[in-house]
Symmetry: C2
Subunit: 530 residues, 2 copies
Amino acid sequence: MSEKQKSLSRLKALDADIIKLDNIGALLEWDQETYMPVGAQKGRAAQLGLLAALRQEKILNPEWETLFEKLGCSTHPSSLKERSADNFSAAVSNAARFDSTELNEVDEAFLREVHRRWIRNKLLPRKLVEAIASQTSLAQAAWADARDTGNFSAFAPHLEEVVKLKREYAVTIAPDANPYDTLLDEYEPDADTAQISAIFDELSFGLQNLVDKLKGTVSGANLPALAFRNRSFSIEKQNTFGRKIQSHMGFDSSRGRLDLSVHPFTTTIGSNDIRLTTRYDENRVFSGLFSNIHEAGHGLYEQGIDENLRSTILGDGASLGIHESQSRFWEGIVGRSRAFWNFWYTEFQNLFPENLADVRIGDFYRAINLVKPSLIRVDADEVTYSLHIVIRFRLEKALISGDLRIPDVPGAWNQAYRELLGITPNNDAEGCMQDIHWSGGLFGYFPTYALGNLYSAQFIRPMENDIGPLANILEKGKLNVVLRWLKESIYRHGRVYKPTELCRRLSGKNLGSSDFLNYLSSKYSQIYHF
Amino acid sequence: MSEKQKSLSRLKALDADIIKLDNIGALLEWDQETYMPVGAQKGRAAQLGLLAALRQEKILNPEWETLFEKLGCSTHPSSLKERSADNFSAAVSNAARFDSTELNEVDEAFLREVHRRWIRNKLLPRKLVEAIASQTSLAQAAWADARDTGNFSAFAPHLEEVVKLKREYAVTIAPDANPYDTLLDEYEPDADTAQISAIFDELSFGLQNLVDKLKGTVSGANLPALAFRNRSFSIEKQNTFGRKIQSHMGFDSSRGRLDLSVHPFTTTIGSNDIRLTTRYDENRVFSGLFSNIHEAGHGLYEQGIDENLRSTILGDGASLGIHESQSRFWEGIVGRSRAFWNFWYTEFQNLFPENLADVRIGDFYRAINLVKPSLIRVDADEVTYSLHIVIRFRLEKALISGDLRIPDVPGAWNQAYRELLGITPNNDAEGCMQDIHWSGGLFGYFPTYALGNLYSAQFIRPMENDIGPLANILEKGKLNVVLRWLKESIYRHGRVYKPTELCRRLSGKNLGSSDFLNYLSSKYSQIYHF
């Protein structure tokens, strides 16, 4: 084994322990959301704090620096900072680039990612990390209170502090870069604020157009015929059907499970331990149904990662956007399609004869695809959802740049809703305080939801080129054919390819909004005949 | 703050992290036994391995040694070894003794316990620790296979290796002590092999006597009238009743919970997070019922520890024996008493009218107290249970001393069962391979089960001196009166008092077998009129 290979092996051993700590932390958080008794909250926070400290120690173990130097990676933050004038991620990639004749694609990606993790941690003073941790913890509590009372001004000073700290965080990592680029990069490596802005402008233009076209037709839809959707559906049977769909999608219950939580999520507890959660509402059967399909989409991605990548830093989705593309693909493009329900509807109907005996598949299909501008993001339909994201993206970008002052947030929010969705929140609880993200310091996270929608639609054509028209496959219930393609093309690679690279490899072009807009327009014009 | 107080504070901070790691490890193990998908086994073992290594690092952090020296505790293993001619625990206590004028009772106990933990870890070479971990892991797998096929000779070489390693372990810690004392001390601090031998000799003599007296009467019991106990009892209702009893006992569900597992257990995930598990069998209603009460007994102990002790090394039971005394007290002395069922039986009967409408309380009471020598420890009744323990104690003592060779284990086992219980196993699966303990290296653990029985009976008199006859209280369903006494006298103290000390404080005498024998003899002579 060459010296470089030896150093690489050692890096892999060091990484393995960090991933184990990540998995252990994920179990603690999963337990907190599913089974933990209420009284254990404070103790659990302290346990998570210890794990975070141990993780930090492992990441900053001086051995990393020695090994990086042996491998020719830059380890001098100052020189890195100088190079990061453009974009943080590009600078790190440059730094990690070295004589790669000895390294295969996977090892190069491994090195890129561990170096990225190391440098981000290395550049951040402990004091700043702790300030962010404690301030976001306070801000989240303040947010929950302020939302309940609808009092933005009680939340404002906390938001101000969090924005300030996150700006400092970005500037500390890459002083010459656009701070919002640096924040974005954490969730969507290589993402560029200007590019996303341009894509989102096109996207919102196209979506508003579509919403306009739909307005007359949707409001004219035979709503009484769709009222069945709020009938009472047995939660036990919802659960039975949800598990059946997940299993048909290919979710492997010997390597994962499904539980209940207030907010559905998917988490990785180990390389063969992927946990989904969902929630059921007796009077909103679609909520649990599509949450089951959505989370299973995330779960399939995790379960489909190549065995040799799992338990390493590469054993994860390429980015949050790509991850979301998979949950959205299964939930929307598959799960809300007519072809899918041509296969499943009879079974669903037979499970709930008291609710669905009188409901024809056409009405069912329209009911799961009702389009209506609304105030709450998490309840939004396939068409309007991304407009909620565009609004958040524009506002948080302005918050980080300083162009938007905190006291002006509610006004700017309401104005954006008026302009993009044509509706106005009655109060800040259903307005700018509806999401937890900002109080947690998650600036740069929101756009990945919309990027997920765009990626998901852009991957349809390459998929159909290989396996034929999706509708034909779904109509026959052959979800395994779809899964096989996704696994081969996306899942198995984990984080080996950056999202931009993966997108070009699959679709032959950079990410744009047209495939998604075409998908929506074609689907909804068929439903509502415009 | 004095220098000593400062050192002590720092020790407390160091200890707090170790306890957090213990709790995190407990969550991983709890999850493994309750919800973890089957495929995650290997990954979970690796996660637990990492936690064990991190724990070991924290325990052996050089700061401990500096602080112990500042506090005047011996930190030289060699001198400790010289002093440990008699008994490991006493030697450690001597070493930890120092000018205690500044320290209160709790701090002194804290120091005693952290010093004990540190020295045990300090004395053990890493190689030996790892050899034991890997060998017991192999041995447990080999045991499970050999038990299934009933083939002791396939397990024998593994058992041989484990015994050898555990002997080496004991000799490494205290070269001049009786190795079995050193092993015992881990579970029952200060326990002495010779004393336990003497107590167990009396105990087995008394129990055999009682079994003889019962033989005629029990076999003459009206068994057909007790056949109801194997009827089919709805698991859902068993669970409802079990939870109700646990709640009446005072188990606080805001600081704990109950789940299902193959083998019932209780574990501490945090200072306000105590988890019980149980199992239900449709055709063995008593199995789940008494397992619920037993585990809640352990859980009440943990929940009753003083808030200031929880999350420290003192936030645990005084010993395994004392812990077991509490599960046994609630299960046997309370839960299998006539007075308890005088209060509860009507409710139980009404819950299962189809099974119990024709069953009078007298027959119910006899059914939960049937005595019959049997081969399997975990199924044994209150009278014969301790005889199973005496057999294991004698054999494992002889294994560690070298007086019993591995190939002779099955013969010695069968002979002991013939002598003490008058029955002979048909094969080693229902004989010497029925328990997992030895394959896991848990020598010195078995006796604590019987010590628990003895302690539980010896605490009745002091309890009744304070709160009056137990039967009167149970008959009125006033379990809170019992809990209050236990909390005040035992639970809140955690590990502050050593078990021997606690026993003398409460009962005014050393542990013996007479109170337990008298309790059994009085109870069973009333049931079976001898």
